[in-house]
């Protein structure tokens, strides 16, 4: 049985206060870091742990930190990406609601590593409880000297603030997030320059996901080797999986990286809700292409999922059983991306709107065969050509539905109606 790491406090009722967190050993990692590690040693530790970002792209955290210029004259920022809006995902929310200090401690550690003196936590606006708990936790941390000036008696100073999102999925994209903090419309920015070089207010900035940051205190306390020993070597660690949809026991599961998708869904999730058959599973939030039932024996880690043309993403695992209409699901996913497109680039803004119009027709049975070709063509025009990964993800997810379940689309056309509804 795997011992919970990230969710270990979450199980204890009312563990969000600093007292409970400290009692469980909280902020000891911070003390260790501040007194025993140089920033470079800390970055090396995180590199050695092979921790990869939990926000979706799986970029090695230590490597990202290493790109930050060392020039002490430059102001630097750390931003925690708590915008969690990928449909099917609710892991960061649980950390913030149940154990916010874990994230805050991870942030102080991260800020120390990169030399940031200011940090922002970008929390999606709908997460009122997360915002409340995080704000309260920040106050406690200031009071206890884990934040502010001369933290734990060292020369290290750090200010930390919450910045609330206001209902725009694109703010999860890191450059859009920075634009949003700067008070602009959240549209992704050109890269390069990458945020680590020129980010918030033109200064080097690291953006990390809540879960990524929450791993840090544990890595400091238990060592890189311990972390690397959990799950696959190249993409190790404890992982939060969000299970939802047509599954008997939906919920947040902490299990090692690399667990098999089938095991996750069938054993931990209790299998499909209806008792019938699974049709497909979306493994990493709706941006991740769906996997038909036959592909469920895949390891849930960045590399294994990439190998079968999908991704771990946010580990938002959505189960579709045989009663689900793939056309409807594909339409709704595309509607989501269309609604959340920031509107900056042509392919995403115009292409997704076009795709939605076609999908709506297909779902009601007003589609034509040539619409399927047109959808494929649109996916091709969007994928790889959009400015940021939102457009890419949308096209990628839609093509997977078309590829694996073309017959369902065809049936809608031929029947002139939805066979499921």
């Amino acid at each position: 049985m795997f011992d919970k790491v990230l969710l270990k406090n979450a199980e204890i009722p009312n563990a969000h206060g600093i007292g409970a967190y400290e009692a469980a050993g909280g902020y000891r990692a911070l003390a260790t870091v501040l007194h025993e590690y140089s920033p470079d040693e800390l970055i090396q530790l995180v590199k050695d742990s092979n921790l990869r970002g939990r926000g979706g792209a799986g970029f090695p955290t230590g490597v990202k930190w290493g790109f930050v210029p060392k020039d002490p004259a430059l102001e630097k920022y750390l931003c925690c990406n708590a915008d969690e809006s990928e449909p099917g995902t609710f892991k960061d929310r649980v950390i913030m609601e149940k154990d916010p200090h874990q994230m805050i401690e991870g942030m102080v550690i991260g800020a120390y590593a990169i030399g940031a003196q200011k940090a922002y936590i970008y929390i999606r606006g709908e997460y009122v409880l997360s915002i409340e708990r995080t704000e309260a936790a920040l106050k406690e941390a200031y009071r206890k000297g884990y934040l502010g000036e001369r933290i734990l008696g060292t020369d290290f100073n750090l200010e930390m603030f919450v910045h609330c999102g206001a209902g725009a999925y694109i703010c999860g994209e890191e450059t859009a997030l920075l634009e949003s903090v700067e008070g602009r419309r959240a549209q992704p920015k050109l890269k390069p320059p990458f945020p680590v070089v020129e980010g918030l207010y033109g200064c080097p900035t690291v953006i990390n996901n809540v879960e990524t940051l929450a791993c840090l205190p544990h890595i400091v306390q238990r060592g890189a080797e311990w972390f690397r020993g959990i799950g696959p070597e190249r993409s190790p660690g404890p992982k939060l999986y969000c299970l939802s949809g047509h599954v008997r026991k939906p919920g947040l599961y902490e299990l090692p990286m690399g667990i098999s998708l089938r095991e996750l869904v069938e054993d931990h999730g209790g299998g499909p809700r209806s008792g019938g058959r699974i049709k497909a599973v979306i493994p990493g939030g709706v941006s991740a292409p769906m996997i038909p039932e036959s592909g469920l024996d895949v390891a849930m880690d960045f590399d294994s999922l990439a190998a079968i043309d999908t991704m771990l993403g946010s580990a938002g695992v959505i189960v579709l059983d045989e009663t689900a209409c793939v056309v409807r699901v594909a339409k709704r996913i595309t509607e989501f991306f269309n609604h959340e497109s920031c509107g900056k680039c042509t392919p995403c803004r115009e292409g997704l709107d076009w795709a939605v119009k076609i999908l709506r027709r297909l779902e009601d049975g007003r589609g034509k065969h040539e619409d399927l070709d047109q959808l494929e063509r649109l996916c091709g025009s969007i994928f790889g050509n959009s400015f940021c990964a939102l457009g890419d993800g949308a096209a990628w997810a839609l093509s997977a539905a078309l590829k694996h379940f073309r017959d369902e689309f065809v049936r809608h056309i031929e029947d002139g109606r939805c066979p499921f509804h």
Binding site: A168, I170, R185, L190, N338, H339, E340, S341, C342, G343, K344, C345, T346, P347, R349, E350, G351, D353, W354, K357, I358, R361, E370, Q374, R377, G380, S381, G384, N385, S386, F387
Partner: protein, 861 residues
């Protein structure tokens, strides 16, 4: 340098060059929508995607710099197919209403679909429609959101170049729409640059709406006649009347941008207020006569004064006129009327006994110190000092260029002016200083620099004659206010650290009686900076299109063309020989002294050319009385002015699109203003009028055709020597510094002591929508800004118990005027601004020459 291959051709380009630009240099064109050279790259339209070997995805050529060893392909089928898809997607929701779109025929979307698009559309759903009617965002900008392709050029130009930040983008995704606050642009600059950059028919010019197709227009490239920035623009005429003005991509100093005056104020050419025929005053009334009668009458009255020796004749010409007109006018005055009493501005402090010396201080400004180089270059300086100008109102396009330079190069900009401007926010520091205080400022900067350099131990050796120690002892009367200290604490180190320094001088400085002292101190500062090894350049920011030409070509009582002193025999000999006549040797009167002469009943003939001193001379009481005492008041103008109403002879002149001629802008660049149509009504070209007056007096003024006058100028005026086609018919050419190297003051010029001020200090100048009194003849500008106003800080207003929009009386010792109050929270306390553009206000009745800024009280009306 980077060596790369584009479509198989190897080329070497500078590091950092964009692939797009590198390809263009090779003659390979890559389609773009969102890219514009002067805007920050967005890379959002995705039209320019190209292949780079080794990269998984196509990359935007508009935002990807070259790299050594890169292999780029723009000619593959994938690239072609991608362009086709982008266009197909852009067209999916586009209304395709080209037949009723003003942009049809010059639409970038149309052109690109033609060049790169597919032959048919597969889109068969309903199109998005924002609204079925177009919206009038303000009186000059009309908007059709359905046609917008979201390139954001308009929003970026409004923010990054104009600095107005009036346009923005609302909503997101497919609902994204560019617009102003709550769908209005009522408060914006109305410059129309957003219209100009719009690739499609989304933002359109309201005055041009449904007026013409591009092919209906006769378009002529010319130069703007509103201010000294000297923007290039293209005038489109249909059937002899103005249809529109536009600007061309990256052309001229302005590089496609224009201000509201330039873009919308050209309807002045069709103004109702033209002088249609010659008139002569008979029994107290102006009556229309023939040209022969008018010239005959004039000559008859002038002859006696000429024979007397010309001392009782004076002339005032407008700095809006062309070089050829101004040159020939002073030639007429000097060689035929035998007087040196010539002036080319009625507003500056040169005039009158109160402030002698501005015109004496001028020549020294125009030698090597004057930066006769592109403004763009001058703005590359490490440190830029703007003194005495609200650039945003006086020279809007210069404001754009300064903003662009400072944002791009992050060089240090310091602004010293009486009233706030938008540029303040871009600068490293600003100082609110009333006109008249500039000499003290320059002296203080100099002091600071010398001290700084002395600690660095570089100045004493650099100044062999111990000049430094001299300067060191200057007692400058720097007010010990925190604002001054803070400004100096920023500016002095910045000047000391800079390798190149630019100083831009506005017209505020020239109005104060301390102007001469200020220019002398500026020159001294320039010299010291040069001694410290810095490259220094000064440019004036004239608010009139040809003040520089007017001065350089002899529109001054003390100077012959080319800054040659009138009282210097050798200088006179040059012109006497060329013109075949002797010239009067005594310096003449400036306009202030001419008025004094009139007032004393000693002025027989006053010849006013294109100028309206009755409104503009800063002493309303004097000018009114003086002009009524002139023997013969001649007014030659295209438009009916107040002064013309008093004249004895009124001569209808061509306006600036009805005669050819060159203009010398603030950069010292000579550009051609083109003749777009023949003179309207009975108007004649200015130079031809001079010719006929001269010949009626039995004298020959020489050739009057613009080309020939220009040729004469290039022979006789050293700064213009050798200028040829480029200046006259091409894209313009730079004059060169005069060599006369006026002597520097051996002693430090005195620093005027700051004047005591009670009540409010009134300053004036152009507002954003007008240029002097002339622009009031533009129906469009008049709609945009019809009412005068008094601008002050809300704090002052509240202290007076006044609210915004309240009607107030501005009262000085000499007179009063009434206007509405406008609050500006960036305005300094104790200062009010009233624009000098509103004839009905008769602002000059409040003023007295030598008392600028003018002390006033503000009262509730």
């Amino acid at each position: 340098m980077a060596i790369l291959t584009i479509d198989g051709n190897e080329l070497e380009v500078a590091d950092g060059t964009l692939i797009l630009v590198a390809a263009q240099d090779q003659g390979i064109s890559i389609p773009t929508f969102c890219y514009q050279e002067r805007l920050t790259p967005l890379a959002s339209c995705r039209m320019c995607l190209i292949e780079i070997e080794g990269q998984k995805k196509l990359q935007p050529a508009c935002a990807t710099p070259v790299a050594d060893g890169m292999t780029v392909r723009t000619d593959t089928s994938l690239v072609a197919q991608t362009r086709e898809s982008m266009l197909e997607m852009l067209l999916a929701n586009h209304p395709l209403d080209c037949p009723i779109c003003d942009k049809a025929g010059e639409c970038e979307l149309q052109d690109q679909v033609f060049a790169y698009g597919a032959g048919e559309s597969r889109f068969r759903d309903e199109k998005r429609v924002f609204r079925t009617e177009d919206v009038l965002l303000n009186p000059v900008i009309v908007f059709n959101a359905n046609r917008c392709i979201q390139c954001q050029r308009c929003v970026r130009i409004c923010d990054e170049v104009v600095g107005a930040v009036a346009l923005g983008t609302i909503e997101k995704g497919m609902d994204t729409e560019v617009t102003g606050f709550e769908n209005s642009l009522a408060g914006c600059d109305h410059c129309g640059n957003c219209i100009e950059v719009c690739p499609v028919g989304a933002l359109m010019s309201a005055p041009y709406r449904y007026k013409a197709r591009p092919w209906d227009l006769t378009e002529t490239d010319t130069v703007c006649h509103y201010c000294g920035t000297g923007c290039q623009l293209t005038v489109g005429m249909r059937d002899g009347h103005l249809a529109r003005v536009r600007s061309k991509y990256e052309t001229g100093v302005n590089g496609e941008t224009l201000c509201v005056k330039g873009r919308f104020g050209f309807d002045i050419i069709d103004s109702k207020h033209r002088i249609r025929q010659p008139m002569v005053r008979r029994n107290g009334n102006l009556v229309a006569v023939s040209w022969e009668d008018a010239v005959g009458y004039l000559v008859e009255r002038v002859r006696g004064a000429v024979e007397e020796g010309g001392a009782r004749i004076g002339g005032l010409a407008s700095p809006r006129l062309s070089n050829e007109t101004l040159y020939l006018f002073q030639k007429l005055m000097r060689s035929v009327f035998r007087t040196n009493s010539i002036d080319s501005s009625s507003r500056w402090a040169s005039s009158g006994p109160a402030a002698p010396g501005l015109y004496e201080a001028l020549p020294a400004m125009f030698d090597g110190l004057y930066a006769r180089r592109p403004l763009q270059d001058v703005l590359e300086a490490d440190c830029i000092l703007v003194v005495g100008s609200n650039v945003t109102d006086d020279n809007p396009v210069t404001d754009y260029l300064v903003r662009g330079a400072v944002r791009k190069r992050r060089n240090k900009l310091f602004i010293v002016s009486a009233r706030p401007s938008r540029l303040d926010a871009e600068g490293a520091g600003f100082l609110r200083l009333l006109p008249g205080g500039e000499a003290g400022l320059f002296a203080a900067l100099l002091d600071g620099l010398v001290e700084d350099a002395a600690t660095e131990k570089s100045l004493p050796t650099a100044c062999p004659d111990g000049d430094a120690q001299e300067t060191d002892r200057t007692e400058t009367a720097v007010p010990a206010t925190p604002a001054w200290q803070e400004f100096l604490a920023g500016a002095i180190p910045a000047l000391a650290a800079a390798r190149t320094v630019t100083v831009l001088i506005g017209t505020d400085l020239l109005r104060a009686q301390e102007a001469a002292a200020a220019l002398r101190w500026l020159r001294k500062l320039g010299r010291v900076l040069e001694t410290l090894g810095k490259r220094v350049g000064v440019q004036f920011l004239f608010d009139r299109p040809n003040q520089m030409g007017a001065w350089e070509l002899g529109g001054l009582p003390n100077m012959l063309p080319g800054w040659r002193p009138v009282d210097d025999g050798q200088s006179r000999a040059v012109f006497e020989q060329a013109w075949g006549t002797s010239l009067p040797s005594e310096p003449g009167a400036d306009f202030g002294r001419m008025l004094a002469q009139c007032e004393a009943g000693e002025m027989e003939v006053l010849y006013v050319l294109g100028s309206d001193p009755i409104l503009s001379y800063p002493d309303g009481a004097l000018v009114e009385s003086a002009l009524s005492k002139v023997g013969l008041l001649v007014v030659q103008d295209a438009y009916l002015s107040e002064t013309a109403g008093l004249a004895d002879v009124v001569l209808p002149a061509a306006n600036f699109v009805e005669e050819p001629g060159t203009f010398t802008n603030n950069e010292g660049k000579v550009q051609r203003g083109r003749e777009i149509r023949p003179p309207a009504f009975e108007a004649m070209r200015n130079v031809e009028i001079f010719g006929s007056i001269a010949s009626a007096l039995g004298r020959d003024l020489g050739p009057t055709a613009a080309e020939q006058v220009f040729a004469e100028i290039t022979r006789l005026v050293p700064s213009y020597r050798g200028l040829g086609f480029e200046a006259f018919d091409g894209a313009g050419a730079f004059t060169v510094p005069t060599e006369n190297a006026a002597q520097d003051d051996p002693d430090d010029p005195p620093v005027p002591t700051p004047r005591e001020s009670r009540g409010f200090a009134l300053v004036t100048g152009d507002c954003m929508f007008h240029s002097g009194y002339l622009s009031r003849h533009s129906a469009i500008l008049e709609t945009l800004s019809a009412e005068p106003y008094v601008e002050m800080s809300p704090r002052d207003g509240r202290q007076l118990g006044l609210s915004e929009q309240a009607s107030v009386i501005v009262r000085s010792r000499h007179g009063e005027a009434r206007a509405r109050l406008r609050f500006n929270k960036r305005f300094p306390d104790g200062v009010v601004f009233v624009p000098e553009n509103f004839a009905d206000l008769r602002l000059n009745r409040l003023l007295k020459q030598g008392e600028y800024p003018c002390q006033v009280e503000i009262l509730k009306a």
